[in-house]
């Protein structure tokens, strides 16, 4: 898929943004822009965060890490539950972990607004449809992922 066609393309084009990527709750990379960043250690770093138990706290909705040379934003987008609304999606988690990596001086407020706007649109379409879990590598989230879903705190 060309970067321009990705649902993340607009966010990635925001001033100061270096990279945007979306992970499934099980840590699989579902989408990222630009693709070239997938070959950097950033993906591994974000993937580790994506599967970190801290981000499973239902109370925690968003996080921004201000490093000296980078700004990293995480947000849980979509429904924070594992139950699906229909038999065809049985066991598929309806939320995704989105990460933005930006220049350290980028305005957090600006990025949050951009993210709000995009999330609003994605929610209307269905987060799990915009970022289907089948987009990445690895196994589908089926009945087993429902039975053995990650514990919530």
């Amino acid at each position: 898929m060309a970067a321009q066609e990705s649902p993340l393309a607009e966010l990635a084009a925001t001033d100061g943004v270096r990279m945007v990527c979306v992970f499934a709750p099980d840590g699989r990379l579902l989408s990222s822009v630009p693709k070239a960043m997938e070959n950097t250690p950033w993906i591994e770093f974000l993937q580790t965060w994506s599967g970190h138990p801290c981000l499973s706290w239902p109370e925690l909705e968003e996080m921004a890490l201000f490093y000296p040379n980078s700004l990293v934003i995480w947000r849980r987008i979509g429904e924070n539950r594992n139950l699906s609304d229909g038999p065809s999606n049985l066991g598929e988690a309806l939320y995704r972990n989105i990460f933005l990596v930006a220049e350290p001086a980028t305005s957090l407020s600006l990025l949050r607004v951009s993210l709000d706007v995009k999330e609003h649109g994605w929610r209307a379409l269905g987060i799990h449809k915009v970022f289907p879990s089948s987009a990445g590598k690895g196994s589908e989230g089926g009945i087993l992922s429902k039975l053995f879903r990650r514990p919530t705190h």
Binding site: P41, C54, E62, A64, F66, Y67, V101, L108
Partner: protein
């Protein structure tokens, strides 16, 4: 309740010299001792406040309104002051212009009173909890706690700050009795902060300078200051970088 003023000035004999000295003597059952100390501090009182309760006796010295020394039996300094302030009845004797034999307290009077009152509230709120404290558990020094309480109060007064938590090792130190929800949130914040320090991204230039989090639609800014973590809840539109600079500046200023 009888206040010192009810009984008027009296002459009492100095135990040491036997010479008469001027002062006020009274009973303070029901009298809020912290209020008395506060009143004297605000009026720039210099002299000794002698307190007696049964066979126990203690004294507090003020110099131009600042509390400079306290003694209760073998204990002196902040600890003695806090213990004395917890007394709820006894006798009080004021001796103006009496100089302290030694100065054991170097903390602004308002911070000292806040700290002492917080400790008294802590004891009243959870006496069993205090007794159950495992021996040897690392607790901040009184002077450290005092500084934190004062810092906490200053931060709460900043525009844009609607809440403030200060903690160490995952435990909230200020405020003394946080509501359970805030306590729970602080643990989450602490875990995230700890994890973020362990996981440093490539080319990031080191550990995070600060963290922002949204917990149940409420925005928090976290800053690590040595062993302590300061978490402030911010009103919408607050300048993050500005508040961060302010927190660091105030902390370094002491």
């Amino acid at each position: 309740m009888k206040s010192p003023k009810d009984q008027g000035p009296v002459s009492v004999k100095s135990e040491a010299s036997g010479s008469p000295k001027k002062g006020f003597i009274g009973l303070f059952a029901g009298l809020e001792l912290p209020n008395l100390i506060q009143m004297m501090a605000m009026n720039g009182f210099t002299g000794k406040v002698e307190l007696r309760c049964g066979s126990r006796a203690g004294e507090i010295y003020l110099k131009h309104g600042e509390i400079v020394h306290a003694r209760l039996e073998d204990t002196a300094g902040v600890k003695a002051f806090e213990q004395l302030l917890g007394w709820v009845e006894g006798e009080v004797l004021l001796e103006a212009e009496r100089q302290p034999p030694v100065e054991t307290i170097d903390v602004p009077w308002h911070a000292l009173l806040i700290q002492a009152m917080a400790r008294i509230e802590d004891r009243e709120a959870a006496p069993e909890k205090a007794q159950e404290q495992p021996p040897g558990k690392s607790q901040p020094q009184a002077s450290e706690l005092l500084r934190l309480r004062s810092f906490h109060r200053v931060l709460l007064d900043r525009p844009g700050v609607s809440n403030c938590l200060i903690g160490k090792a995952g435990q909230v130190l200020c405020p003394a009795q946080p509501v359970p929800k805030l306590l729970h949130w602080f643990r989450i914040m602490w875990e995230v902060l700890e994890s973020s320090c362990k996981m440093t991204p490539p080319d990031a230039g080191g550990e995070p300078l600060m963290l922002c989090m949204v917990l149940e639609a409420r925005g928090w800014l976290l800053v690590r200051l040595g062993d302590f973590v300061v978490a402030v809840e911010l009103e919408k539109g607050t300048d993050l970088a500005g508040i961060h600079r302010e927190i660091v500046r105030l902390w370094e200023k002491g």
